[in-house]
Symmetry: C2
Subunit: 380 residues, 2 copies
């Protein structure tokens, strides 16, 4: 069974045989998340070279300079005074002009494509880890972060659910992106394999992200290895695409959240979604009551996710001389289809607050209604 | 932030400094799951040595021999005829006498401790991967598999939720185990560090499982490395425990499921739980209705988990000229506190079946009411 992950993590496929004993000669791509706290951040690209990492120390200096500008604002030259905004400026702004958007991965990552889908004119800023992207927004290094939250075949990215709660950012939008995994290699490499890769006992090696796998093949001139990444990554790192649509399920969509320091003012001019997180005092038994507050107001839920409560993971209950029952305590994350300006949404949350031990609105934002596939199928 | 995983995967801690740039000098232990299909299976331990892996080919031969025994049963000697069962035999049987129980990991793994908690007299059989343990039950190599399904601080083990659906095994029990992570090393090793491990920039290396990390330290005589594993693993591999209770949250419990080829006949003599999996045709909007079938009959839920539907991951809906909405399709896993012999449970499932597109009962089994901690706290 070959398993492909679609969250922007990548695989390096080495075309060397190895003794797999009596197994079926297939193995899983393995992926890893999380890690050290170093910041990979794009400097302004002046010479057309790829972005290089800057250190957290450098990040602190940047933050310090911003303060200096702030305190020295009366000494500005006239040319630095704010210009009048034009209608064109506003359109450019909505397209992400002058906006810096952080994503996890390297140039060519699916997360970068999501950032560009959201803000076509933005400057994308690669980050080594998910939590670096959160911090980059908090420290004003960037304006937005775009992070994968779930994939239609792989499920939720739990790390990002946990990070949403650790940080105080607001969800201001979502992006749904069709993820097309391509197999790629150096031009001319692997030709002798006749692309019959299924018949090879390829050694599958996990990498931190898809674009990173493509980059290593190019930088280390690996002629016996292939990578699974985006078509964009193949172009950036000068690799040839051997096969497209490598994913197990062709309808492969990843949903990303757009995060900012400030919430947006929700409207009713187009479909909105709202994301919340809450805990219930009596465990999952009252989850029915929690869902009722939405159902009674005809508010549709699009997602429910449970995660352990880290600070209070367990409740032990003495059960009438038959022993003790242990209940795991959960956080519930819910997305519902309503804008926070709607009374029914406000009433539902007021109702939920009557019995929820903890409730936080993570954001109210426009639903992504764009097409993901060239010929999108309809069912209703 | 140091993150400890409690699902039976292990960490190797190398006490070498490395340049961590301007990060805070801490990094995450990274864990991996899944992989190739080789079987690590314990042979009868006659010389006191550790179990050695047997191959899948050997597994096929074992299965062939079983058939041979079956067909040649009329040639048996008298001494091999079945003996009469005694009451003592029944007690021994309930304790797992003559029972082979598969678990993922190596001797000393937390999963092995869970197997022994469930069946104190059983013979435990280590498996390289989770799905090997499932297959070992299906192929009659073992009688039971004991697999972690969720941890109070780490959350669900989604791989095992997916495997529950891929295989046709039945849940016949659960085990809740307090997981105490110990830091261990070779006797005399690391003494010069004065155990001030927090101040060291230790390189944290992920391993396939906790006991595996301990084993490698012993077999490779690594005097500059420590492992995080169970106290039992320290004893088996001759390591000294440097510190106990290394986990981030002291109330750290992992819940394991016991799987068998045949379901058990549920009773009402003690508290039972039932686990089901289902899909809903109209997406999460009808989840409220699904939970109502339990709530209306005063059946308490202890767990709800959603996973993507692999075969039908996405539903695209045309939304009145405003674009297209994409809904991810989910499988829902629910545990509820009732036995399948109870009418209310049967009625609830009949009610659910009226609108669920798919419904499967994974098992009805006694709740683990045993104590996990020496001085268990009560709250009610």
């Amino acid at each position: 069974m070959t398993s492909l992950n679609s969250f922007g993590c990548g695989g390096l496929l080495r075309l060397k045989r190895r003794d797999l004993g009596s197994s079926h000669g297939v193995c899983c791509l393995k992926w890893r998340y999380g890690g050290v706290g170093r910041l990979l951040c794009a400097k302004p690209v002046e010479d057309g070279s790829d972005p290089v990492p800057i250190s957290a120390a450098e990040l602190s200096r940047v933050s310090g300079n911003a303060d200096a500008l702030e305190t020295g604002r009366w000494d500005r030259e006239l040319s630095t005074l704010p210009k009048q905004l034009s209608a064109t400026d506003l359109v450019a702004r909505s397209q992400g002009s002058n906006m810096r958007v952080a994503y996890q991965g390297l140039p060519g990552a699916f997360s970068e494509a999501a950032a560009i889908k959201a803000y076509p004119l933005c400057e994308t800023v690669p980050c080594e880890e998910f939590d670096v992207a959160f911090k980059a927004v908090e420290l004003w290094v960037v304006d937005r972060a775009v992070l994968p939250i779930e994939n239609s075949s792989g499920g939720s990215i739990h790390r990002n659910y946990d990070l949403l709660l650790c940080h105080r950012l607001h969800i201001v939008g979502e992006v749904q992106l069709a993820v097309n995994h391509c197999l790629m290699a150096l031009p001319g490499a692997l030709a002798q394999c006749e692309f019959k890769l299924n018949e090879l006992e390829a050694i599958q090696q996990s990498m931190h992200d898809t674009a990173g796998a493509a980059q290593i093949i190019a930088s280390d001139n690996l002629r016996d290895a292939g990578a699974i990444a985006s078509a964009q990554a193949a172009e950036i790192y000068g690799l040839n695409i051997l096969e497209e649509r490598m994913q197990d399920f062709s309808d492969n969509v990843t949903r990303f959240l757009i995060l900012a320091r400030e919430p947006i003012i929700p409207g009713t001019d187009r479909p909105f979604k709202t994301s919340i997180v809450f805990t219930l005092d009596e465990g999952p038994g009252v989850l029915f009551k929690a869902l009722a507050v939405f159902s009674l107001r005809n508010i549709n839920l699009t997602k429910i996710e449970s995660r352990p409560q880290r600070k209070r993971p367990l409740r032990v209950v003495d059960d009438s001389n038959r022993g003790t029952a242990k209940y795991f305590e959960y956080l519930f994350y819910i997305d519902f289809e309503a804008s926070m300006v709607e009374h029914r949404a406000q009433n539902a949350l007021a109702h939920l607050q009557e019995f929820a031990a903890f409730l936080r609105v993570l954001g109210s934002y426009p639903k992504d209604m764009s097409k993901c596939f060239p010929q999108e199928k309809f069912s209703n």
